[in-house]
Amino acid sequence: MKIKNKINLTFFLLFTAVTIFSVTIMGIMSSRVFKNQIYQSIKLINNSKANAVRIFLNSEKEVVGMLAASTLIRDFLEQEPASSQYLNEKDRVAQRLDRSIKEVPQIYELFILNRQGEIISSTDKTNEGLIRINDDYFTKAQDEIFIKDLYNSETTKHLSYTVSAPIKDSLTGETLGVVVARMNPDNLFKTIGGDSDWSSTGENFLVNHNKFLISPSRFNDNSAILDKIINTKNVEDCFNSDELALLKNNNYANKTEKMVDYTDYRGKSVISVHSFIPETNWCLITKIDQTEVLAPIKNLSLIFASLSALFVLIFLLISLFISKKIIKPINDLKRAINNFKGGNFDYKITATTKDEVGDLARSFSDMAIRIKKIQNDVDNKIKEQTIDIIKKNTDIENQKKALLNILEDIEQEKTRSDALAGIVKGAEEAIVGENLEGKIITWNRGAEKLYGYGAEEVIGKSIKIIFPDNRLEELNNIIKATKNNTPIDHYQTQRKKKDGSIVDIALSVSPINDQEGKIVGFSAISFDVSKERQIDRAKTEFVSLASHQLRTPLSSINWYAEMLLAGDAGKLSAEQANFVQEIYAGNQRMVELVNALLNVSRLELGTFVVEPESVNITKSAESVLKELQPMIKKKNTKISFNYDKDLPPLEADPKLIRIILQNLLSNAVKYTPEKGIVNLTITKNTKNILIKVSDNGYGITKSQQDKIFDKLFRADNVKAKDTEGTGLGLYIVKSIINQTGGKITFESEENKGTTFFVELPLSGMKKKAGNKSIE
């Protein structure tokens, strides 16, 4: 059975049992109390009624006693009937009797009996003369007043009883006669009546010694009087107790110590109290039906029953409520467990009581969470692994695809590379493919021819085998440049042939990328430039030699002239000094010419060097101006130098910058008359440094302006002014500027002045390898 029902049933049974028990106990106890109460009341009634009867009988005894004591009656009894007085007395007695009967209405008949038991006077004249000597009312009243038990009178047919009293002689105490009063029992009955006043089933009745009912009774007709025998226990007990009562010194009111349940003449259970009336040997019974007594109990019982039913109901409800409360968490738990069983671990247990069920619920909850976590972990692991597997599959697929692609590419490449290979193979130039460590991968026919090694001899070996000893570092530089993706173009260098001879080459290196663009090696194309180099070298050597050879005598002349002029060989005369000065001056021109020619040759050969440094243009300009000071002073030229304060340093070859500035500035000073003005302005725009050199000198004739940059060209107007110049300056400047990415323009008007504009890119000059720098 379900716990709930168990609880409910238990409670229900418990409460019902308790209720029944309590009700029963209460019923029993209250009925007892009730009965006792009633019993006490009945006892009181019985007592008072019994007393009332006795008092009543006594009063009647008194009345009759007083008559018996009457002298008249006594005297009458002593009179002889034959006497004259007798009739007189008799009348007086009869009057007396009549008077008494009128005074005491319950007396039916009042008569006097003489010693012989003869009724000598009676209120009922018909009875006079009757002899009643044997009657109890005569015989038993000789000494004391005697009450004769109720009887049905023959003569009058009335229910009556008699009270008779002896008439005694006052002197002798002799019984002269008896006065008898025959009583109507109604007043007697009245003393014990009023039954319906105090109950619905209670009654008082009298029984005589023979247990005949002698009074009216609630449940009997009056015809039952002296007819019905009441032989119930209570009557028995009453007459049995009379001995006890007598023994207890006339304690007549019988007090039953204990209440006894009697059954009456109807067979019903009654509470009965009895009193013995010794004067007449009567018993007075007072009784009441137990049902009437207990009727209130019945009512109470009903109330109790309903109340208890109500209580049971309430308790049932309470028990339902409690059981529910107890059961609910358990049911929740059951539900949760079912959910968990079904795999739903997210179900939240709501049992949050602090008792054992709550604990259990929480434990389950924890367990569920843990299980869920484990499930999740397992799921995740499976997922991961599935993803992994899928990924691996995809990878494999991709790799397959890639392989296919590669195979295709390889096919294509093969075709292409076969073609390329053909080209490379057949090329005259030496083309060598190397990896990033300089290991030879490919070696074409050109390489074979140039270096003398067959392909099979060198493939797999380091390229260093063709490097002359003094050029071994070049390989590292080449590799570095390759890694930086810097191409090497026509780099003049030397290599060693198989036979050990050195060959001049122009080297071009470009990186080799794989499909992903990663540099994996480089390809070096080398041209045998020995011939060119030879020619070049010859040219350069020639120029070099020429310049050296030319300069040596020039230096000699210079220094000796210098010493002469300094007076190191003795003081010169003015004229001598003059002449030497001319020699010196002429020599200077030669030196300048030689220098210029050298520069031109380098420019034309392309062998000049550009080595960019961070050049402060302003400082260079200042230095050039300082150098020109002698000339500036001599000609009294006013120089103004303006420059932007925020000129950035220029990545340029300082020598070249110097040459540019030198030429332009010296030209400006040279080709301006004395006291002239030369302005140098250095500014910048977004892309270039702007150098402006302007003078107010001789200017350039329009017709000759287009030739001004030509080699060895000198304009007529300056030739006429006997100025010295090689005619190479502007050519050199222009060449330098052009070859370093700049621009030069000018504006000029004869006799007004000239302004040269130079633009040098802010990006600076590119490093240029060569073998000689311009001077």
Binding site: H548, T552, N558, Y560, E562, V594, N595, K772, S773
Partner: protein, 133 residues
Amino acid sequence: MPKIKTQKNINILVIEDERPLLEAIRLKLEKNGLTVVSTRTAEGAWNFLNDLKNIDVIWLDHYLLGQENGLDLVAKIKNNKTLKNIPIFVVSNTASTEKVKTYINFGVNKYYTKSNYRLDQIIGDIKDYLDKH
């Protein structure tokens, strides 16, 4: 009579292959109060340096008579513990950047293109240098 400076004596070793030039140089140096030792070869210079041990400064041309040139000599001098600190002034008519660079890298004090400089300029620089050091 040439003026002789009363200060301490400066010994200068001049290595120059052209005779007229050498003479001019010598004259001018002596006029400036330096004591001149001269040779036309690198070997001669080396011998002087090792024998005399009191050379204060060197005037060196690049092209010399004999096998070695100025560069070879400078290399030797700079590798010699006792000699490497002697200041060297290279005065030559060749001006290949390569050569100049190499000389500078060896640690020579200055390189002059002969024809571009007056004697007194060069000697002035030498004296300035020696005054400072």
